[in-house]
């Protein structure tokens, strides 16, 4: 590893250039004459002055301090860090698809609109929904969109007393946050001892102030809500709508569908289930599907097929409007489209089967070493607890940091909040049994060490570019930018 401590700004040398632009070939405008003086910049922004070589080396070397799915195992629970097929990257950079302006005349963008239209069809089929909007930029954004639709639906019926959204405590954190942001009152319900929605508790709060319920399913414990049909019937019975957080669709593709479960709205995360890369933080894409009754409320435009031509339809009086510019994250959608077209129905089902088998395999192999709070057949992921280890002073954090030294990305830790010392493990279907076995072996060794020699686990990571970082300091006295 090359140690290069500098920021790109610290490599700047006055007068050095890294760009290659065409020479200006039109008359020059005298800025001072054309613009009022106070509009013109007085001090240059502190951008670095570096050569192309500098830039390439800087970011290439930075990349080496980062771990991606192509580096190795990445069982980050809830994030579905599956392998991102390379062909999809190639597809996304076909100039004839990518170099398109969103406001072009639809007649000149029929290829892209056809992709969007078909993607709506495919995802509708996968979710068991009527139509899908591809506009939301991420899962959380899909949730917001769904909640706006719930609101619009009730308001359209002049039912303005429905102000509550019910959210089980095993739901993903974005669920309550989105509900709050959409202007709802969030009502939590606890999980029962099996890790599922407590039906009694649910029953007790259902009334005509309930706008809807948001269910992460499989939930953040990796469990399928066994009473899901009961739940959807109960909520519908009281007049509420049902929102399905389908970020965990990787567990059930081709096996079961939110629409069939009685849900009215569901989102999927293309950047998880549909193998588009997460880009170190994004971009993602969080399409939502809705049942027939809710189609009028979808954001505009909806792409319609009219006589073999694809037309963005803006004339939708009940639409909630727009939740994002243009058509959504087309570049991400393209990759997911490619994925669906290469996998087909049987491929997607095989994905879910393998994902679930892999998770259960690890669960089974670790159950003698770690506490597993809800230890039964899980879906695509499960949550273990390092509480046993914590007794000898070794926390989930310590275990995670030791995994770093073994070349493995740790599971999600301290999430979900309802499990203490949680480690949420999601292997995905793209990992081989050998990779799983290697992980299991290391996890077992760590469990043994936690008992025999807990101190030995406190100094990890030792092999990374930096050792443990002081997060408290970062938050107390935030340094959020470089200054000259």
């Amino acid at each position: 590893m090359i140690r290069d401590e500098k920021l790109i700004f610290e490599k700047s040398v006055e007068g050095r250039i890294g760009y290659s632009l065409p020479e200006n070939d039109v008359p020059k405008v005298d800025l001072e004459a054309f613009y009022p003086d106070e509009f013109l910049r007085k001090t240059d922004p502190e951008l670095p002055e570096v050569s192309e070589v500098d830039v390439i080396r800087h970011y290439t070397n930075l990349s080496k301090r980062n771990y991606g799915v192509d580096s190795g195992f990445y069982p980050l629970g809830s994030c579905t860090m599956k392998y991102n097929p390379k062909i999809n990257e190639d597809i996304a950079s076909i100039e004839g698809l990518a170099q398109m302006h969103p406001l072009q005349d639809p007649q000149s963008a029929q290829g892209n609109l056809e992709i969007l239209y078909n993607m709506d069809r495919y995802l509708s089929e996968i979710l068991g929904m009527e139509r899908v909007t591809l506009q939301p930029a991420a899962g959380a954004h899909g949730e917001m969109t769904g909640l706006m639709i719930i609101k619009a639906y009730h308001m359209h019926r002049n039912d303005s007393k429905r102000v509550k959204i019910i959210v089980p405590d095993s739901s993903h954190g974005t669920n309550p946050a989105s509900a709050a942001l959409a202007g709802f009152e969030v009502v939590h319900i606890p999980s029962d001892e099996r890790g599922c929605v407590d039906i009694k508790a649910l029953e007790s709060i259902l009334d005509d102030t309930v706008a809807g319920l948001m269910l992460t399913n499989p939930n953040t414990l990796g469990l399928f809500e066994e009473d899901i049909l009961k739940i959807s019937k109960m909520v519908h019975a009281c007049g509420g709508l049902l929102y399905y957080d389908g970020a965990n669709m990787n567990a059930i593709m081709g096996i079961a569908r939110p629409g069939d479960m009685g849900f009215d709205i569901a989102h999927v995360n293309l950047h998880k289930t549909f193998s588009t890369p997460h880009g170190g933080g994004g971009p993602g894409s969080g399409p939502i599907g809705v049942i027939k009754e809710l189609v009028p409320f979808l954001p505009v435009p909806v792409i319609e097929k009219v006589n073999d031509s694809f037309v963005p339809d803006y004339d939708r009086p009940l639409s909630i409007g727009k939740v994002k510019s243009f058509y959504g994250n087309f570049g991400v959608i393209l990759r997911a489209y490619s994925y669906i077209r290469t996998m087909g129905a049987q491929g997607l089902k095989a994905v879910s089967q393998a994902a679930v088998l892999n998770a259960n395999y690890i669960r089974k192999k670790l159950e003698d070493y770690y506490e597993i709070p809800y230890n039964r057949t899980c879906m695509h992921e499960f949550v273990l607890s390092a509480q046993k280890q914590a007794k000898s002073g070794v926390t989930a954090l310590d275990i995670a940091k030791n995994l770093l030294d073994e070349g493995i990305h740790p599971p999600t830790i301290y999430f979900p909040l309802i499990v203490q010392e949680a480690m949420m493990i999601e292997p995905t279907e793209t990992e081989s049994p050998e990779t799983l076995d290697n992980f299991i072996e290391i996890m077992r060794q760590l469990a043994v060490k936690a008992q025999d020699d807990p101190e030995s686990l406190k100094n990890a990571p030792k092999t990374t570019y930096v050792s443990r970082l002081d997060e408290v300091k970062a938050a107390r006295t935030p340094v959020l930018r470089w200054k000259k």
Partner: protein, 462 residues
């Protein structure tokens, strides 16, 4: 079903099933009520191999008229700028693009440091104290800014210039619909009722009329949707007078030559950073930036990278101020955002590094030179007329003799992507045409464009 993406062989599958203690794959799904389990395959097209997929996608691409084969004069929020080759090479490093959000900082210094550098550059450009790691796009960034302002001062009204990108205003309208925050739009100056040099900018009198102690924030855009610069300073003074915040939507390329909103008194700067090294991508992914003055730092939405030290005292970076975030605070979080646009931000930071001080200025200047040249040339044809008088950047409004929709269609046959038709969004600007000219357009292309506009408008045979 065998797939090159699923390494488990049939034999291994058997072994694993028995290790788990189940008889079959089906048994793994027994928690799913029987009646829900699908009895047949999903109705999806039959799978394609890699090569067939490539052919299929190329066929679809041929149904498009892209901006490589065609000459693009369309902007209106998304711009066709030159992207240095090195940018794509950097963001194609798997360590960057196949990583998740940097939850484990020790193996994520690449992403974290690049975000830190990005935050710095955005803060520098906008003249702000801090920036976040990016948001979905300019429109949602504006929405988040309004939320921040309203929460900060507890007020429930926001004044938005009509010269702000209509796409942004639409997002704002839908997102704020049930939030308790009301939006009042403020009109722009028309040519007829205004002294030269002001038309096309926000109508300060009308703004003044709507301003009150209830105003949480004023949101303006500069260069605005018509390409015209607003007097940010004057507006910020008005905002200050009533204790409202000023949110400025600014194009980052323009900030290579124009005074930063921070210096001119804005409290929050947001906008679309797609022009910084990101392709148009049919409108997504885009790159919303979000920058604030100090008082608002802990109220920013989204991810933020911060500097710290490791156990050996070495500089390092982490995601910070996470107490604001949804995975910890749930319904009390400042925003619901989890996923951002880090890879697009990496493209932006690579772009800005390559361009540097001088290059960014050069790009901005060429945009000015070329748009002014196009504007003058168009007017000289006598086939289009002036609409506004204030100085513009990269983009301008004119009124051609024939309808923009007709004109665009005719241009399309000439492999030209014409300007934006303002008619639908601005009925008072019926027949007006918003034309963008970036540094990418050569004089030759511009002349070709002007000639075509000329001949089409004359109804001559072009």
């Amino acid at each position: 079903m065998k797939s090159s993406y699923i390494p488990m062989t049939r034999q291994q599958q058997e072994a694993m099933l028995s290790a788990v203690g189940v008889e079959s794959l089906e048994e793994l799904f027994s928690a799913i009520p029987e009646e829900l389990r699908l009895k047949k395959d999903l109705n999806l097209p039959k799978p394609l191999s890699e090569y067939e997929l490539k052919k299929h996608m190329n066929t679809l691409a041929r149904k498009n008229s892209d901006a490589c084969e065609n000459i693009c004069f369309l902007g209106a929020g998304v711009y066709d700028h030159i992207i240095p080759s090195a940018v794509k090479h950097i963001i194609s490093r798997q360590e960057f693009y196949t990583a998740y959000t940097p939850y484990q900082p020790e193996i994520s210094q690449g992403v974290l440091q690049s975000i830190f550098e990005y935050q710095t550059m955005i803060a520098e450009l906008t003249g702000m104290d801090a920036a976040n790691a990016s948001l979905y796009d300019g429109a949602t960034a504006l929405y988040e800014a309004v939320l921040l302002a309203s929460r900060f001062n507890g007020r429930k009204e926001v004044l938005v210039a009509r010269s702000v990108n209509p796409e942004y205003r639409k997002v704002l309208h839908s997102a704020l619909k049930y939030s308790g925050i009301t939006i009042k739009e403020v009109d722009f100056n028309k040519e007829e009722n205004n002294p030269a040099g002001k038309s096309g900018t926000i109508d300060l009198k009308k703004l003044q009329d709507k301003l009150s102690k209830d105003t949480a924030a004023i949101a303006i855009q500069s260069p605005n949707f018509f390409g015209i610069l607003e007097d940010i300073k004057a507006i910020s003074q008005k905002a200050k007078e009533v204790g409202a915040l000023l949110i400025a939507v600014c194009d980052p390329i323009s900030l290579g030559v124009f005074e930063s909103p921070g210096v001119l008194g804005a409290d929050i700067a947001v906008g679309e950073a797609q022009p910084l090294g990101n392709p148009m991508n049919f409108g997504g992914p885009l790159l919303g930036y979000f920058a604030v003055k100090s008082p608002f730092i802990r109220r920013m939405p989204g991810r933020i990278a911060g500097e710290t030290t490791d156990s050996q005292g070495r500089r390092g970076f982490v995601l910070t101020l996470q107490a604001r975030e949804q995975h910890i605070r749930r319904e009390k979080a400042t925003s619901n955002i989890c996923t951002n646009q880090a890879l697009c931000a990496l493209a932006a930071v690579s772009y800005l590094s390559l361009m540097g001080k001088k290059g960014l200025k050069e790009v901005a200047s060429q945009c000015i030179n070329k748009s002014v040249y196009t504007y003058k040339s168009l007017l000289e044809t006598g086939q289009v007329s002036q609409v506004f008088s204030a100085p513009f950047f990269r983009e301008f409004v004119v009124k051609p003799k024939i309808k923009p929709s007709v004109l665009n269609e005719a241009l399309s046959a000439e492999k030209i992507i014409g300007g934006y038709d303002l008619t639908a969004e601005y009925p008072e600007l019926e027949g007006c045409w918003l034309v963008a000219v970036t540094e990418k357009r050569s004089m030759e292309e511009i002349k070709h464009f002007v000639n075509k506009v000329n001949s089409i408008c004359q109804g001559g045979d072009y």
